[in-house]
Amino acid sequence: MDTVALLTVLVLAGFTGYEVIAKVSSTLHTPLMSGSNAISGIILVGTVVVAARADSALSVTLSLIAVVLATINLVGGFVVTDRMLQMFKARKAPAADREAAK
């Protein structure tokens, strides 16, 4: 892709990101951080590209290390975010629950 096209993508993604994230409620700021952190683990795609093209023992080793690190970031990030979000339940206050039980 040529530079201008990439720059276009960059700028539009920047605005999209800002608009989307500005609406995130402060209750979910920690999941937002860990979720966006998981997304940055997509550098895994880049590490696979360099690993596939690596031709020396050193570059193969380095790129495989990068694959491992990026995968930890990506997979761990999504799993930990899921664990967090699982806990956010829209429930009534406990007192109200007990009222309902009566």
Binding site: S26, S40, V75, Q86
Partner: protein
């Protein structure tokens, strides 16, 4: 796989990521959104294998498997209280991976490689390595392997500036046929820069630094995407960068200080360097039974939780106390300061883990007018976020930080481990206020005693 088809698949993955972030505007849809994001990532990874058709496929898949196993294990194992550390480590690893990608691209560069691409590769190394080492220092600080107070040594400012200048010079040399060792030197300098960047930031300001480092790793991914000519990496990295920058701004606003002051305040001297001496002035402490009476006969109690709650893993004990109070008809609300805890929104996650409905958690602006008509403000393991010095003492390091107006409640109860000052190391006037009562001890222990005492009323 044809490039057009791959590009289309990357577009779908990018849309999945945007959907994942957008879903976070409501706790109801957030979990589904996260799953959509994971599917997007899966598509993208499958596509890159189909496009590259690597000869060493099995080696790469093995590395992938190792990483996935470590990631899942760590993510399942970590306690909710240790979440900030975990995110810091993950973040650092992503940054390191980005820096390695750029380094290898530079190593394989030829005469034909465009100057712009080389320059951005240098930039990727710088930001990625800083994100890596900075995150590791933030981790060490959060894990309390390092002191919470700013660490500075004589000449640190000059070393930092010198290294930054050296990094910029080597970075500027790279596009113009610099030998490979220059890229390695840049990597080394960047790692040290990251360390020197985070060391002087005081413990109370760590949430901001984590948000900023998150933005750095996003920028690394975007820049790496430019180097590889991969639009998905650019979109994903930019999204993360925007989110990190936005959170950083929100946090800085919540601390009432400009970002540069937070980051480089310790370099200039002062800032979060507070008193470390334990005050000898008298305070009033009471037995759990006395405080239980205070709480049990109140009409409204506002709980202000802080990091001490997380350290003591006391979120479930807190919930039990709140249940006992609610049984007696006491209204219980939670006041969440934006920077309570060690990362943005940390308290919300902890209390959610204890099944406290998120509707009972009130943001600072919403709850502050309520303190005046509140009988007891119960401060659990928090200190700086209720310190009136932020309003009154212009010389105080936290001066200007918006705080929870706990001091406006009819009575204040502190659950504290000791008289040691908070993470920022500043003494709290409110502890010596005549309407304040202290209950010393581990937060979990104290909360259990209080719940039992309220039940016995």
């Amino acid at each position: 796989m044809s490039p057009a088809l791959a590009g289309l698949a990357y577009l779908i993955a990018a849309v999945c990521f945007i959907v994942a972030l957008k879903a976070l505007s409501s706790p109801k849809r957030a979990r589904l959104g996260n799953a959509v994001g994971a599917v997007g990532a899966l598509i993208a990874v499958a596509v890159v294998f189909a496009v590259e058709r690597p000869d060493n496929l099995w080696l790469i898949l093995a590395a992938l498997g190792v990483g996935a196993a470590i990631g899942v294990f760590a993510a399942q194992k970590v306690a909710m209280t240790a979440m900030p550390q975990m995110v810091a480590i993950f973040n650092g690893l992503g940054g390191a991976a980005g820096a390695i990608v750029a380094l290898l691209e530079l190593g394989g560069a030829t005469q034909a490689t465009p100057i712009g691409q080389l320059a951005v590769a240098g930039f990727t190394i710088l930001v990625g390595a800083v994100a890596f080492s900075g995150s590791m220092i933030a981790y060490a600080r959060l894990q309390e392997l390092l002191t919470g107070r700013p660490l500075i040594f004589p000449g640190m400012r000059w070393l930092f500036s010198g290294l930054l200048a050296a990094a910029l010079v080597t970075g500027a040399w790279i596009p113009f046929g610099a030998p490979f060792w220059v890229a390695l030197a840049l990597t080394a300098a960047s790692v040290v820069i990251g360390v020197l960047f985070v060391l002087p930031v005081g413990g109370a300001d760590v949430p901001i630094v984590i948000a900023l480092l998150n933005a750095f790793s996003g920028i690394t991914v975007a820049a790496g995407g430019y180097v590889l000519g991969n639009s998905l990496l650019i979109v994903a990295g930019t999204l993360v960068g925007a989110s990190g920058i936005l959170l950083t701004q929100l946090m800085a606003k919540a601390m009432g200080r400009p970002l540069l002051n937070i980051l480089f305040g310790a370099f200039a001297g002062g800032s979060t360097l507070g008193a470390t001496t334990v005050s000898a002035r008298p305070v009033r402490s009471a037995a759990p039974e006395d405080i239980a009476i205070q709480l049990g006969f109140a009409r409204r109690v506002i709980i202000a939780p802080g990091y001490g709650l997380a350290v003591a893993q006391a979120q479930h004990a807190l919930r039990d106390l709140a249940d006992e109070l609610q049984k007696r008809g006491v209204e219980v609300l939670y006041a969440i300061h934006p920077v309570a805890g060690r990362m943005p929104g940390h308290m919300n996650v902890l209390l959610a883990e204890a099944d406290i409905p998120y509707r009972a958690l009130k943001e600072m602006d919403e709850i502050n007018p309520e303190f005046r008509t509140t009988d007891v403000a119960l401060v659990v393991g928090a200190n700086d976020v209720v310190n009136p010095a932020a309003r009154t003492e212009s010389g105080s390091p936290i001066y200007g930080m918006p705080i929870l107006a706990a001091d406006e409640a009819q009575a204040v109860v502190f659950l504290k481990r000791s008289m040691r000052p908070g993470f920022a190391g500043i003494e709290n006037e409110l502890l010596h206020d005549p309407k304040t009562t202290l209950l010393f001890g581990d937060a979990k222990d104290s909360l259990r005693k209080l719940a039992a005492a309220v039940k016995a009323l």
